[in-house]
Point group: C2
């Protein structure tokens, strides 16, 4: 089953376009879901640690902006594969109830 939690899924999804730092991930996840997903900070950092340990994300670079540190995370190839597989699982799960066939491209 290789289950993935919802928070983990949206974190990976947020990193698909470009590397982001923690706070940026929270904002991006909110944007992508039209405000429905609000990642709590306590959720984020724990999840990022787990993702890094699993090799699905890596620290891209660290910066200091206005005295505040910023740690950018980048999704790995394994991370991309994992989040795409999870997207397929979500769609299949939805189909069980909707009974509708989704049009899927690449």
């Amino acid at each position: 089953m290789t289950k993935m939690t919802e928070a983990t899924y949206f974190i990976l999804a947020a990193l698909l376009e470009a590397p982001l730092h923690g706070y940026g991930i929270i904002k991006r996840a909110g944007e992508q879901s039209a405000g429905r997903v609000k990642l709590a900070v306590g959720t984020l950092y724990g999840a990022l640690d787990r993702l890094a340990e699993a090799g699905l994300v890596v620290v891209d670079r660290e910066e200091v902006v206005d005295g505040r540190p910023r740690r950018y995370y980048r999704i790995t190839d394994d991370g991309v594969t994992a989040v795409r597989e999870e997207a397929v699982r979500l769609q299949q799960a939805a189909r069980v109830v909707t009974g509708q066939i989704a049009v899927m491209g690449a």
Copy 2:
């Protein structure tokens, strides 16, 4: 957000067609997901208690077959609404990654 767990979702989905007893729900969920979802018994009964308390399912009837008790659960109108809303959420979540638009009927 009104989050619903994966186990809860598949339990409600399994009950959409007809009332089922606990063990039947486990088998039905496996069928509907092509064997991907395997509900653990410890998960099932706890989840059913929570669903009953929330009014999303009710006990339909109790039977005794071959000396073994069977308790049938039935999904309520609120349960149907909840599982449909969750299906939409899952589809929207999947779309964040796939970027594809799904064809939806009713």
